[in-house]
């Protein structure tokens, strides 16, 4: 039987859920449709289906700032990719030590590591800024990437510690009997089994860095170094309140990579949120 008879309950439930989902996504869909409408139609048509389609907003927005928008996408991509790589390496190194090795004061260091997860970024922001400006590193990528190289995203250390603890220790011991040192065990045994945790770390680091605004606003104030969020912000300052088309178009482009990662990495995202409470 292809069609099971449905009783009233689930159907009503589905209708309500679909309705609610539509209301939630409506602003997003409206932004996409508005980005394809001629300027003067955006306010007149709150509906989603554009009566007239144009790509003018995209070409206009792409060249509206000092550099073509691709320039800012590239700047964002460089910082984001470096952050992902740095987080993967630095956090997994620390996580392996916490999960598998014994050393003096381990409990204390672990507690400190957990404590730093909850630490508000603003508490360190002023001295960090002073330090990077004394080192003459404002308007470079270092203030944004250096913290990741130094494993300060403790959330991911915690995530990986939790994951490594679920792996059977016998594997480590077998490799040790075969004469492998800690480094070889880390690279050859533990890391390959950690792929799900590494994927979660990579995807979240990507999304957070791509979205990050405050630190990029702080450290990048030369238009030649602007990333996507900072560039979008200048858009807002530069354009009058009536010209939204190009701004919407570039906002859609800015959200594109996140949406892509969302589609590709849903499994890891949802598992990551469910197990650790990441955002």
């Amino acid at each position: 039987m292809l069609f099971r008879p449905l009783n009233g309950g689930p159907v009503v439930k589905h209708i309500l859920l679909i309705g609610f989902g539509l209301v939630m996504l409506y602003p997003l869909l409206w932004m996409i449709s508005s980005s394809l409408k001629p300027e003067e139609l955006i306010f007149r048509e709150p509906g989603l289906w554009p009566s007239q389609v144009t790509t003018e907003n995209y070409t206009e927005g792409w060249y509206a700032l000092k550099h073509p928008f691709g320039y800012y996408l590239w700047n964002s991509a460089v910082i984001t990719v470096l952050s992902v790589v740095a987080n993967l390496v630095a956090c997994s190194l620390a996580a392996y030590a916490f999960a598998r090795l014994n050393f003096p004061l381990k409990k204390l260091w672990f507690a400190i590591m957990l404590g730093t997860i909850m630490l508000p970024y603003h508490v360190t922001i002023v001295p960090q800024y002073i330090m990077f400006s004394k080192l003459d590193l404002i308007n470079t990528i270092w203030p944004l990437v250096m913290p990741k190289i130094l494993a300060t995203d403790a959330f991911f250390i915690f995530l990986m510690v939790q994951f490594i603890r679920t792996l059977p220790r016998e594997l480590d011991e077998a490799a040790e009997i075969d004469g492998a040192g800690y480094w070889r065990i880390f690279i050859r045994v533990v890391m390959p089994l950690c792929m799900p945790a590494l994927a979660t770390t990579a995807i979240f680091t990507f999304i957070w860095t791509w979205n990050d605004f405050l630190s990029q606003l702080l450290y990048l104030n030369n238009p030649d170094n602007f990333t996507v969020p900072v560039a979008l912000r200048t858009f807002l300052d530069a354009s009058s309140d009536s010209s939204w088309g190009p701004m919407f178009a570039m906002s859609i482009i800015a959200l594109g990579p996140i949406f892509g990662f969302f589609l590709a990495g849903q499994k890891y995202l949802i598992r990551g949120v469910a197990t650790t409470g990441l955002k």
Binding site: P27, A94, Y121, V126, Y129, I130
Partner: protein, 313 residues
């Protein structure tokens, strides 16, 4: 100690096992080296540096000048904008966090229990959580709730003349609260994971005893879910107290209109990096740390009275 040397296997003898544990400790500290440097230079160092700076007058260009508690007394006695930012942030947190968690829990309950299409719904409701922090969405929000934005366009279909919501001191904060509620998907997923931990045999037993859906919710679901509610509450309180991007973009970086969206962190940013009053900003940062630590502490203390941990009762 003896256990350790036995566990360390065939080597056996005390001497070789201490050698081994020394080797292990050395390896561990090498693996942790980047983290240690980061802890010192990026985290702990700056925390204490900002404590020191909070007692000074410092503008990046001149030497820091010791002023004692001046920054702190100024904050609470002579700076109405500071007190206002504290108030705005508190209202934002107190209204938006419970609302967001209520939506998250409600949707998780609806989606639980083998609903068809669950993965699709889950993804749809989760998507805003990923996008919500971005500048692009804040721009969208500014336009949706602007004078000639989507909301007013929809209202005008019904013949209602709306106002410029983000430009009105009475409503601007409300639009930011809505934006926060919109991102209920992440706590919803945590709730869903929690709901899945509750054995279905509990419900079956309750049904046999004649408990209805509401009774089951009150006596089984809610108590067993309190640890998850608590977890979400702690996390969201800490996070929402630090909200920055949305208020910055929606208000054009100024916290207006009439300081109605001047979030704490936004005011801190303006003081530290627009006025270059870095001593004052550092003092604000420490007050923020104390507020968040205090809030979390109170949360943990209060949790004894309402959070139910099955086996450790």
């Amino acid at each position: 100690m003896t256990e350790v040397s036995v566990a360390s296997g065939p080597a056996g003898g005390g001497h070789r096992s201490t050698q081994r544990s020394r080797r292990e400790a050395r390896a561990a500290y090498l693996f942790l080296a980047p983290w240690f440097v980061g802890l010192l230079v990026i985290t702990i160092g700056p925390i204490f540096a900002s404590l020191y700076l909070s007692f000074t007058d410092y503008s990046l260009l001149e030497e820091a000048k010791w002023v004692g508690l001046d920054n702190y007394t100024k904050m609470f006695t002579e700076d109405p904008r500071f007190l206002n930012s504290l108030q705005v942030t508190t209202i934002y947190v107190i209204v938006s966090v419970p609302l967001q968690l209520a939506f998250a829990l409600a949707l998780a309950l609806v989606l639980d229990r083998g609903l068809r299409g669950l993965p699709i719904y889950r993804s749809i409701f989760y998507l805003p959580s990923l996008l919500g922090g971005s500048v692009a969405i804040a721009i969208l929000w500014r336009k949706v709730f602007g004078a000639d934005g989507l909301v007013n366009a929809v209202l005008s279909v019904f013949g209602i003349q709306g106002t410029g919501w983000v430009g009105h001191p009475d409503y601007a904060l409300g639009t930011l609260i809505l934006l926060h509620v919109w991102t209920f998907g992440a706590p919803m997923i945590i709730f869903l994971a929690g709901l899945r931990q509750i054995p279905s045999s509990y419900y079956e037993a309750a049904a046999v005893d004649g408990a209805g859906a509401l009774r089951q919710f009150r006596s089984i679901t809610l108590p067993l879910l309190t640890p998850i509610i608590f977890f979400n509450l702690v996390l969201e309180l800490i996070k929402s107290f630090q909200s920055f991007t949305q208020a910055f973009i929606v208000s054009g970086g100024r916290g207006g209109p009439a300081d109605s969206t001047l979030f704490y962190t936004l005011y801190l940013y303006l003081q530290g990096f627009k006025n270059y009053d870095m001593g004052y900003a550092a003092a604000m940062a420490w007050v923020l740390l104390l507020i968040i630590a205090g809030l979390t502490g109170v949360n943990f203390l209060a949790s004894k009275y309402w959070v139910f941990y099955g086996d450790t009762k």
